[in-house]
Symmetry: C2
Subunit: 325 residues, 2 copies
Amino acid sequence: MPMADGADKEKRTVKGKIMTYLVTGAAGFIGAAVAKRLTGDNEVVTIDNLSTGREDNIPPGVEFLKGSVADADLIRRLSDRKFDAVIHIAGQSSGEISFEDPVYDLQTNYQSTVLLLDLARKTGCKKFIYASTMSVYGDHNPPICSEDATLVPKSFYAVGKAASENYMRIYSEQFGIACTALRLFNIYGIGQNMDNLKQGMASIYLAMALSDHKINVKGSKDRFRDFVYIDEAADAFIKALGREEGYDVFNVCTGKATTVEQIINIIKENLPYDVEVQYSEGTPGDQFGIYGNYDKISKALGWKPQIGFETGMKRMIEWAVKDHR
Amino acid sequence: MPMADGADKEKRTVKGKIMTYLVTGAAGFIGAAVAKRLTGDNEVVTIDNLSTGREDNIPPGVEFLKGSVADADLIRRLSDRKFDAVIHIAGQSSGEISFEDPVYDLQTNYQSTVLLLDLARKTGCKKFIYASTMSVYGDHNPPICSEDATLVPKSFYAVGKAASENYMRIYSEQFGIACTALRLFNIYGIGQNMDNLKQGMASIYLAMALSDHKINVKGSKDRFRDFVYIDEAADAFIKALGREEGYDVFNVCTGKATTVEQIINIIKENLPYDVEVQYSEGTPGDQFGIYGNYDKISKALGWKPQIGFETGMKRMIEWAVKDHR
C-alpha cells in the first residue's frame, strides 16, 4: 500500500479521519489483532521479522516491512513517513528465551523501543503505545498488583520491558510525546501461535495436549496467572490511542487468578480424549503467581474485561481443535 | 602480557595470591585508578574503545584490548580466559550524550553488562563489580538517598545503569555470581579528562576556567552534588572485591552536598586570574540536587570517605594548572 501522494492527501482531507499507524509485530498474535482493528479507513504499516510471527497473520491492507525492529537502518528508512501513532508490540516475548539469548532479547525489547521513540521524536509523531508486561512486577506479595507496585523483574525479558517504560516516561517528559505502557497480563485466544512452546502458558498446554495428548508442565500446578482474552487486549490498545498527553502505565488484566491446574482441567474437559500430565522443573525467572487490578485503566480509558477465562478458553480450544490438529 | 601457561601456573601456586582481573575502561578516569590498584602481583586485562579515555592512562603492565565492551565478538574472544573478577567500568558516562545518541548509550551501558555477565557465567567467574551511578535515583525528595530509595531515572544513561543493576541481581540469583553495584556519586580528582566538556561537573567547570577564563554553567548555580575523591572511589571497588556471594548495591558518596556555586568559588579562589561565570539553560535529564548516605557500604565493606571536597579540589586544581594549561 504505497502512498500515492495526491490521492492520499485528498482522501485525508475529504474524510478527515484517515490516520496512519505504525504497528510493530503485526505478524504476531497481539500485533495482528491490533492491526486488524485499525485497518479499514486507516493506513497501517508494520515491521515484523517473522521470527515467531507468520506473514499470513498480517491483516489484509497492512503495509509489511520485513525486518527487525532493533535494526537502526530499517527504522531510519521510515524517517520520511508521518505516523499519527506508533504502537510497539514486536519483541522477543519469552522469559525463558531471554535467559538463552539475553542480547537478542535486549535488542528486540529495549533497543527497538529506543529506536522507535527516537523515530517518533524526529518525525513529530505524538503518540506512542507500548506492549509492556506484568512480568515487570516479579514475585509480588500479595500477588495482586496495581501499577504503583515496586518492580522487581525476575527475567531479562522483564528488565528490558521495565527499562522501555522508563524510556517512554523520559521521552514523554522531554519531548512531549503521549506515551502509554500497557502491562499485559497473560493474553490468550484465537490466533495464538500454537507452534511456539516457549511463550503463552495456556497456548503451550493446549498445543501439547493436541499434538501429544500429554502436557509437560514446567513448574508447580499451583502457579497462577491473570488471563485476558485477545479481543479485549486489542481493545485496550485502541482505547489507549485516545490519550493525548503525558506518560502513563496501565494493567491490562481481569483481576482474577487462574491456576495451572485449572487451565489443565478446562483443557482436559474440552478434549474428547485423555490427556496425561507430567511435571518437571520450572524455568528460570518464572513468576509463581500474579494477577492484576484494573481500576486504573477502567477509570482512565473505560476499559473493562468481560470474557471469563473458561468462556475464552473454550473458544480457543474449539478453534485449535478445528485448525491445528 | 600473554599468559605463558606453565610459568603462570607456577607463579599462581607459589605465591597463592595472584589474581586475574578484567577491568573494563582502564583508559578512563575511574577505570585507570582501579586498574592501577590491582596491578603488581595480579594480572589485569582491560577493554577500552578510547572514545573518551586515552591509551596513556592505562597503567603499565595492564593487557590492553582495544574495542567496545558492547562488541559481542570481542567479548567472545575472552571466553578461554579465566578471570577471578570482572570489574565493569567502561561505558558512555554523560547524561547529556545519552540524549544525543540513546542507542550508543544503551549499547555501551546495558548491552555491555549483559555480554560481560554472560562471559562471567560461561567462564565460571564468580565476582562481578559494576560502576553504577547516583543518577538512577533521579530527583529525590528529600535529596539525600539511601540505597532503598525508589529509582526514577531521568536520563537514558541512568535507565541503562538501573537496568544493568537488575541484570546483575538476576545473574546473582540464577547463576551464583557475587554481583556488586557501586552507585558512584560525582567522582573527581587528579587524572580526570579535562578535554571532555560533557562529563564530570567539577572537571567541566575547571577545564573551562583554565582554557577560557570563563565558566558556562548549564543550569542553576543552586544545584548540588556529592563529590567523592577518585582515590577513595577506587578504594570502594577494591573493597567490593571482598564480597563472596549474592547481589548488593552500595552508594559511594560522602554524605555532603556541594553546590555549583561553591565549586565555582573554590575554582575562582585557587586560580591566579579572574574567571567570568555565565549561566545558560540546563541539559535534559539533569538532576537538581542529590547527595547520598554511605552507612551501608561503611557497615558492609568498611569504606568511609575522608577527603573533603575543598582539599580534593585544591589537589586537582594544582594538578590541572601544571599539566593542562
